[in-house]
Assembly symmetry: C2
Homo-oligomer: 406 residues x 2
């Protein structure tokens, strides 16, 4: 009984916690060999496979170190399998599984990666393959996965954002002039991560975020300018959060970036709206402006939510367990209550997650006040607790793959 | 015996540690009233003055909280005093000092702020004012101040950069493709902070920074392109560090260069050199490129070097003590040895710091190897030790001025 684990799509700060959960479950459940596929399924296709050294994993505290190690330690890919389940790649994958007596393939990823899980299962069904189960583990900082209360990775990014907005506010407040600082936050079409910037208001004696624009909102550029003008009447240094997926009605803020697409899934590469909004405010109001793109640091920051890490581990563990009995499923978190925060684990069909996205509910967008109340209720329990990072030579040190493979 | 403290110029993560040192020394040395001027000397000019509550400061652990609180808590300014020491502003300042029986004015800032210290002293000399001493405390993440081994604030920014480059490396390595990630780092004309990115190589099994370009270096854009090509022969995902003060010989990367325009609005791109270097590499090599501007987060990050914080406190403390006997001086750090790291405190004339800048020595730029050896020897002792931040509600909480003023 052997298994193989892969990671796919954009990284998160807790994607290796899910990986550690898979490995730990495989050891606990008596799997003989535990493989890792480098760069998602490309590793299997190209023959880049590693085997976990179970003894080292258990004896050297690798599990805890993996929980603190941001970004996909197995590497990633954006490989999209052909719709046609008859292509040679499928055969190559299943030949590999058969040759290595692999009964479980666990794929940790977002909605694109679940597309891979679904297609492999479709191939298995078509070819009556029943000796292997292919199961997904959810991850994404975007929090846009359906069928679950929230996705692992989101909370650690939100924790980093809440903390960083506090430090940005402390910086921009020092000058007694009119200014606007625009902070662009990731999340693709979904505003979950940008909205979590409002967590920084908790317990603060002053406003942290003055204005917020999410992809789910409908604005003209003139309406935004009016809001900025109004806000400047009340305070000096504005902090404006904009989701990378935000676009004004007339697409004035579109930088033609939609023409640039990523190679695998052909999604438009979206970033730059913050810079454009900055230029627009500067050109129209002649105040000091600055654009800050939170960039990839928000998805691989070492400031990790313990709640997020624990849940990511649990989902990895459960995925491996599920794979011993079922296929084409994904373990998910369902919320029982927010206060006190209680969840249960369930499983969903991979097909209900693949290629779909969950946006912020319309009812939450009624007003800034409602949005803040809703997101605080929703996300504040998720960012609680910190993992203590290991420092050496004055900066954070991370475990690497070479430390625990054969 | 009263004193007043101000902060000026760009913030750092330890500028409030110096402030705490001043306040603590003033309490220890029996000053009656300890004032803070909001937004540098503008506070005195505009009448925005606060008074520290000494009892609260001592009883509520404010000193330790200030050490963990990035960015100038008194606010800042970039106010430049007239060369003409006869202007009404000078009179206003000294009228305030006299009316409030202030014997010590401590100004925490960089080379511009030391210009203020020098001018106030010049006015004092011209007008035979001997009842007040005006003393500076050095600070800047740029590390470009003369007369001292290093400046407080630099090390914490370097610590953040070393840590963040490790996480950025963990992120960019996940895809098995050719790519170039350009990270633009602050420092004005001086490359100290960008060079400290090489600290991230300490103890790493793989290269973190592939190429580095500092303002002190002399390159044509074609030479850079060749270096990028050569590096891509050896590895997939390049991490290229560029100092914000870097410029190629022909100034192609200058933001006013008419050849490079924003795609959406046809504005000349006025963001950093990192973005333009990214565009240049992308246009010439057609690989995946990404520009990351570390931005203001590097100067107000909550990841604080204990060594830096302790030294900043000590300099603040000593400045207040110096102000009881001398004027027109700045306490500075001199290094006795790097291994073991030993320093002594001395004082320098403010005039030797004002308006001057210290660049990386030419001898350090001989080769990448030499630069790395030199900067590691120089900066690695400075980033040691961490201040444990206070978390509440899942993110970092900072002390505010309202918590300890009357």
């Amino acid at each position: 009984m052997n298994c193989i684990i892969g990671q796919s799509g954009g990284p998160t700060s807790v994607i290796n916690s899910s990986f550690a959960g898979c490995v730990r479950a495989a050891i606990d459940r008596g799997f003989s060999r535990i493989y890792g596929s480098l760069n998602g399924i490309e590793g299997i296709i190209d023959g880049n496979i590693v085997e976990i050294d179970k003894e080292i994993f258990l004896s050297k505290g690798i599990e805890d170190k993996l929980k603190k190690r941001p970004s996909s330690i197995l590497g990633s890919c954006r490989y999209k399998l052909d719709e046609d389940c008859e292509s040679a790649i499928y055969k190559k994958l299943f030949d590999f599984f058969a040759a290595n007596e692999i009964n479980s393939f666990i794929y940790i990823g977002g909605n694109d990666s679940m597309d891979t899980v679904v297609k492999l299962n479709k191939y298995m069904q078509l070819n009556q393959i029943d000796w292997i189960n292919v199961v997904g583990v959810p991850k994404t900082i975007d929090n846009d996965l359906c069928e679950m209360d929230h996705s692992p990775g989101y909370a650690s990014a939100a924790k980093y954002i809440a903390t960083t907005l506090r430090t940005i506010r402390s910086d921009i407040d020092i000058y007694d002039i009119k200014s606007a600082t625009i902070v662009e936050i990731m999340g693709r079409n979904a505003g979950w991560l940008a909205a979590s910037s409002l967590l920084s208001e908790i317990g603060s004696s002053k406003n942290i975020v003055d204005l917020i624009y999410l992809g789910e909102m409908n604005y003209s550029k003139e309406e935004i300018l009016q809001e900025v003008k109004d806000a400047l009447e009340k305070s000096n240094n504005l902090l404006i959060v904009v989701s990378e997926g935000f676009m004004d009605r007339d697409k004035y803020f579109d930088g033609n970036n939609a023409q640039i697409h990523d190679k695998g899934f052909n999604h438009p590469i979206i970033s730059g709206v913050g810079q454009r909004l900055k230029d627009y405010i500067h050109d129209n109001l002649s105040i000091k402006t600055r654009a800050i793109e939170m960039n990839i640091v928000q998805r691989t920051n070492q400031l990790i939510s313990k709640t997020d890490s624990d849940e990511a581990f649990e989902l990895g563990y459960k995925a491996l367990e599920l794979s011993m009995e079922m296929t084409n499923v994904v373990p998910v978190i369902r919320r029982l209550s927010s206060n006190p925060y209680k969840v249960e684990y369930a499983s969903a069909s991979a097909g209900e997650i693949a290629n779909k996205e969950k946006l912020i509910p319309k009812a939450w967008l009624e007003s800034r006040k409602v949005l803040e109340e809703k997101i605080v209720e929703y996300a504040s329990p998720l960012i609680l607790g910190e993992l203590e990072q290991d420092f050496s030579n004055g900066f954070v040190q991370f475990v690497e793959l070479e430390d625990f493979i054969k």
